[in-house]
């Protein structure tokens, strides 16, 4: 051991530099992972601690900040319910990993595998003959009054008879050093994706320390999960379609769903993306319905199928259960597995293990008492102040109550509550669990922790992830580590005795996969989201350009009178013109653009961009995602300075225009020209055409456009250079109108956008059985013709005192038709958005 501590914890004279473990947890009453009671380091921490201590001064802080930055850049977030600012709360990763010796972990793994096998057999029994109930091993309440027991799932026959494919256990270490299971996650365990993300960040923040500590890899777990899911497919064994079924972007762990979907290479789908026909599950895509073979679900049991389970669930897929029953699709975990998340089962697992497996339970549960038995109830009531009382069934949704925090009066209230429905409660003894070092501010302090471990079914048994999601408590008074309540996470390092061999996620190549250049399997919902992403990108861009051009003229000090131009530009595209002048106009302008309540301002567009980016997290590239994050941060963190508000804003707008062109460049350089790109681009084109038309209407219809305004129109329309090449400095409204509206060689003109839209529409899949379903193309043809036929010299000529009324009418017509075109596209390609409704039964009305 290096570092300047002595075993008795007294500082030696002249330490050169403070060591990482110095003074650590001197007054902590808890046993600790890193130091023994005599305060010497445990052997498996020595290498890590000495490597940290060898870092140059300042390096430690630098690495820690790098880890924070990586989390930020990768957009790792989780959503917190019931908090208006709770969406996308950044993930907090503690910089010090939890270290576990390989040999110790092997013993735990063995216990975990047995537990997974046991719970799987128990599920098969409860949803089958229920021998454990009839032979008296389990009290009947635990099944029959368990809200998690879904009777429609009873008797379903599953591939290999397996119910549990993904299992997770929350582990705590007790005071004697053994691990115990605090709770079992059998429904749709979360956190494996965050675990992976934590690992990626840590191994990039301290790569050499990570390498030298010989940390075991996480990948084998994911490899076995993938193989298991592939094997589950009832059809298409070579190349089954596997989807990750998410409740959607408002779910607590949506980030993880999209992250895992990308990592595993599965499509991320919501209930609305799937449909059941002929008792087969299909994904709705642009190219039609595509059969789904396996569903990895993150939707809770009861929400999976509104037809047979919770009827008002909008997250589910009507008919899914029947598709499962018929063996046409496999769902992992099987629907109904949540029944075992009830802590009421914990006290009975040793007996169930002997009964079902003929083995002793290797990995114990935290000591738990189920109050449904009279003698146990009396025991619990007598020791209530030392207990943590929980619902026997988690679906009842009550928070755990800590007896030690209650007054005598509160204790007797609790006792009455338990006595009313004893079977609905369990009690656990408050335990003296271990601590592990955590970085709290600048200090290393002991914190209590829970490890969430993960297992994936593999062959006839299970593979344990060599690692896990460790979470630490906010303070040491409690063992509640809910990330909902502000806890933080840690990477978990299982140390290997020897060198660690790398693993790849690429599947073993037994057969080369068929080359495919399609892309018609884009889910319709994604097509719609991409289309709107394109529209909001363009809207943000045009808003930024327009505002930039306006502000440049507001702050113009060259002496030319630009007041009229400023007024027109500031009001362009608004339903209500801004009528004030000077400083008041500037203030109003900033407010309308950046105001928090202005949904049609820049903030509104950018928050829509942000929302779409979140939904499309698994569809767009990581770089594209980062660009969108950057835009969001720049706009939402912007505070106009008190003295020179305009210059700060101008800088922001400049930056926005540049960042957005980076996104456009990325899209044109690195997106394959498939359906995803097409819909993104269609969105851009529609928006650009609409804005171009609206802008001309705001500026050129009025007859007294002065040169300052005309100049600005060309600049904001990004066509000054072209214009000057053609007409030199002679500014004429009809020439400008021609260039910006009708010239299909100008990439900024309305006609150019429409020409591209025409190409896109021609390339989309069409239902040939319904030849009348091309009204989008007919609309577009009409639109293009009306622009081509326009005579701008005549339209822009002004009679005595008249406005350019016909020009105005033309532009209004174009705008209306663009809106119709957008509607038509939505109807033809996004019509999946139809929602379902429940009809139910007859009411018995007989006397």
């Amino acid at each position: 051991m290096q570092g300047p501590t002595t075993p008795d914890g007294v500082e030696t004279d002249l330490p050169l530099r403070r060591g990482f473990a110095d003074n650590y947890g001197i007054n902590s009453p808890f046993p600790d992972e890193m130091v023994k009671p005599d305060r010497t380091l445990r052997p498996h921490w020595r290498e890590f601690v000495s490597l940290l201590d060898e870092l140059k001064p300042g390096e430690f802080g630098h690495r820690r900040d790098l880890a924070r930055r990586l989390i930020h850049q990768n957009g790792v977030t989780h959503n917190v319910y019931g908090d208006p600012n709770g969406l996308d709360r950044p993930w907090i990763l503690d910089f010090i990993p939890l270290l576990i010796a390989g040999a110790h972990w092997d013993a735990i793994s063995e216990g975990l595998v047995q537990r997974a096998r046991l719970l799987d057999r128990l599920l098969a029994d409860l949803y089958g003959p229920a021998d454990t109930i009839y032979s008296g091993v389990l009290p009947p309440e635990l099944l029959w009054s368990n809200p998690g027991f879904l009777r429609p799932c009873h008797g379903i026959r599953l591939p290999r008879g397996r119910w549990l494919h993904l299992y997770s256990a929350d582990l705590v270490r007790n005071e004697t050093g053994g691990f115990e299971v605090m709770s079992d996650r059998t429904q749709a365990p979360s956190g494996a994706g965050y675990t992976l993300e934590n690992r990626i960040v840590m191994s990039r923040a301290i790569p050499s320390i990570f390498r030298q500590c010989q940390v075991q890899r996480l990948a084998p777990f994911f490899v076995s999960l993938r193989e298991t899911l592939t094997e589950l497919a009832p059809a298409n064994h070579e190349n089954p379609r596997i989807v990750l079924f998410t409740p959607g972007p408002y779910n607590e762990t949506y980030f993880e769903h999209s992250f895992l979907a990308r990592y595993l290479g599965y499509a991320l789908v919501q209930g609305n993306d799937l449909t059941v026909r002929d008792t087969i599950v299909y994904m709705k895509t642009l190219g039609g319905l595509q059969r789904v073979d396996v569903i990895l679900r993150r939707v809770d049991d009861n929400f999976c199928d509104p037809l047979e389970l919770l009827p008002d669930s909008y997250l589910g897929v009507p008919g899914l259960l029947q598709a499962v029953r018929r063996g046409n699709v496999a769902v992992a975990n099987a629907i109904g597995c949540g029944v075992l998340q009830a802590p009421g089962f914990l006290p009975f697992l040793p007996a169930v293990c002997r009964y079902l497996l003929g083995e002793e339970l290797k990995l114990p549960s935290v000591q738990t008492w189920w109050c449904g038995q009279p003698d146990i109830l009396e025991f619990v009531v007598q020791h209530l102040s030392e207990m943590v009382v929980k619902s026997a069934y988690p679906t009842l949704g009550e928070d755990p109550v800590f007896g030690q925090n209650l007054t005598r009066e509160e204790l007797s209230t609790l006792e009455r509550k338990i006595r009313k429905r004893p079977a609905n409660y369990v009690a656990q003894k408050q335990m003296m669990s271990c601590t592990t070092p955590a970085l709290i501010g600048e200090d290393v302090e002991p914190r209590r922790f829970v490890i969430r471990s993960y297992l994936s079914a593999y062959g006839d048994s299970y593979t344990v992830m060599n690692g896990g999601l460790s979470r630490i408590t906010q303070s040491n008074d409690t063992l509640v580590v809910s990330l909902q309540k502000g806890g933080r996470s840690k990477d978990t390092w299982i140390l290997s005795e020897g060198p660690v061999s790398p693993v790849t996620l690429l599947p073993p190549t037994t057969q080369p996969i068929a080359i495919s250049r399609g892309g018609s399997d884009l889910p319709s919902r994604l097509a719609e989201d991409l289309y709107w992403l394109g529209r909001y990108l363009e809207r943000t861009d045009t808003q930024a350009r327009l505002a930039r051009g306006t502000i440049a003229r507001m702050v113009d000090q060259t002496g030319i009178d630009s007041a009229h131009a400023v007024q027109v530009l500031a009001s362009a595209g608004r339903s209500k013109p801004l009528l004030s002048m000077g400083a008041e106009l500037e203030r109003e302008f900033i407010e309308s653009l950046m105001g928090k309540t202005k949904s049609d301002g820049l903030r509104g567009s950018v928050s829509n961009l942000h929302r779409l980016a979140r939904v499309l997290r698994d569809t767009i590239s990581t770089d594209a995602w980062r660009i969108l994050q950057e835009i969001y941060r720049a706009v939402f963190n912007f505070r106009p300075g008190a003295t020179e508000p305009m210059s700060g804003l101008l800088e922001l707008l400049d930056q926005l225009v540049v960042t957005l062109s980076a996104f456009a460049g990325l899209a044109s350089e690195s997106m394959t020209r498939g359906q995803a790109w097409r819909f993104l681009d269609m969105g851009r084109r529609i928006e650009r055409a609409a804005f171009g038309t609206l802008f001309l209407q705001a500026t050129l219809v009025e007859p007294d456009a002065d040169p300052v305004l005309l100049e600005a129109v060309l600049e904001i329309g990004d066509s000054s250079l072209t214009y000057r090449r053609r007409y030199l400095t002679h500014l004429e409204p009809h020439a400008i109108a021609d260039l910006l509206l009708a010239d299909d060689t100008n990439p900024r003109s309305v006609a150019f956008q429409l020409a591209l839209l025409d190409q896109h529409l021609a390339a989309l899949p069409r239902d040939l059985a319904h030849p009348d379903r091309n009204y989008d193309q007919r609309l577009l043809l009409k639109l293009r013709t009306s622009i081509q036929l326009a005579d701008f010299v005549e339209l822009c000529s002004v009679g005595a005192g008249r406005e350019r009324a016909e020009f105005d009418a033309l532009l209004s017509g174009v705008l209306e038709q663009i809106a119709q075109l957008s509607e038509a596209i939505a109807q033809l390609y996004f019509s999946h958005a139809i929602v379902s409704q429940e009809i139910s039964g007859v009411r018995e009305d007989h006397p």
């Binding site: 009839y134 009947p140 009054s145 429609p152 026909r277 007859v842 009411r843």
Partner: protein, 293 residues
């Protein structure tokens, strides 16, 4: 007695529905005193997919999906059922309610243990101290269990007023208890609640009843509707039925369609439509004794 039953349901939608999934329970059950001689279910327009099976409670289930646009859905279930009288029960004899309660609690055999599933709370039937207190009047010390049950059934019949439309499907049973009015479904839930709150096993039965026409008048077709009553587990005897709406013990005039913990388990039809704004439905049930048909 033999009966011919026609149970038709029609749904209409304001616009064409491209896809609907349905679960239907309309085939009468079979048990010791009831045989289903014939059954067929017709769906119009013809469903694209149709599967049959049994649910957790042993009720016959048909799943079907319509995958072509439709604005009207008709489900017509026709069955012929033979019902034998149950009993006779010697009401004044047999084990006392205390003995029944004790046997249920210790569950010495598989049959009694299985019955325990119907002691617990369910969606429409929570345990209630108030209803237990109401019920206890029918359970004086040492009274034979069957006598207690019939007394409770008669009390509900006497004290509560049948009033069509006075409640909704999800009106809580305690509200029915306080308002003293409801329909047969509410009274079934109410009696089940009374019994479960005292620790007895009771289940919900849905089915049909033949109403005798007033003397000299024709039976009105379609006047009959589906009915609901309860079935109580009596250790040593088995499940015995009581009809709190009419204050009687069903015999061969009650035709059992389905059984479960409460209404949620036995609803005759349930569907999910994709699309559509609103719908209407009408139901008619026709139960004709076959001798007079």
């Amino acid at each position: 007695m033999k009966y011919r039953i026609t149970h038709s349901t029609r749904y209409g939608y304001d616009e064409a529905i491209p896809l609907s999934h349905n679960v239907v329970r309309m085939r009468p059950r079979e048990h010791a005193t009831q045989t289903c001689l014939q059954y067929q279910m017709l769906v119009l327009p013809g469903p694209t997919v149709k599967n049959e099976g049994f649910d957790y409670f042993g009720n016959h289930v048909t799943w079907f999906s319509l995958q072509e646009p439709h604005t009207v859905l008709r489900i017509a279930a026709e069955s012929e059922v033979e019902v034998h009288p149950s009993g006779p029960y010697d009401i004044g004899k047999g084990l006392s309610w205390e003995q029944a309660a004790q046997l249920l609690a210790i569950a010495p055999d598989r049959e009694i243990l299985a019955a325990r599933e119907f002691v617990f709370e369910s969606a429409h039937v929570p345990w209630s101290a108030e209803l237990a207190e109401f019920a206890r009047i029918s359970f004086p010390a040492a009274r034979p269990f069957l006598a207690c049950l019939l007394d409770l059934t008669e009390r509900i019949h006497r004290d509560f007023k049948f009033l069509a439309g006075s409640t909704e499907i999800d009106t809580p049973v305690e509200e029915v208890f306080h308002s003293h009015q409801g329909v047969c479904q509410d009274f079934a839930h109410l009696e089940i609640c009374c019994l479960r709150s005292l620790g007895f096993a009771a289940r919900y039965v849905s089915g049909y009843l033949v109403t005798s026409p007033p003397p000299g008048k024709e039976r009105l077709a379609g006047a009959d509707a589906s009915h609901a009553w309860v079935s109580v587990f009596v250790p040593g005897t088995g499940w015995v039925e009581f009809d709190p709406t009419n204050g009687v013990m069903p015999s061969d005039g009650h035709i059992t369609l389905a059984r479960g913990r409460d209404y949620d388990d036995v609803g005759p039809s349930r569907g999910i439509l994709i699309g559509g704004q609103s719908h209407w439905m009408d139901v008619s049930v026709d139960v004709v004794p076959m001798e007079s048909a």
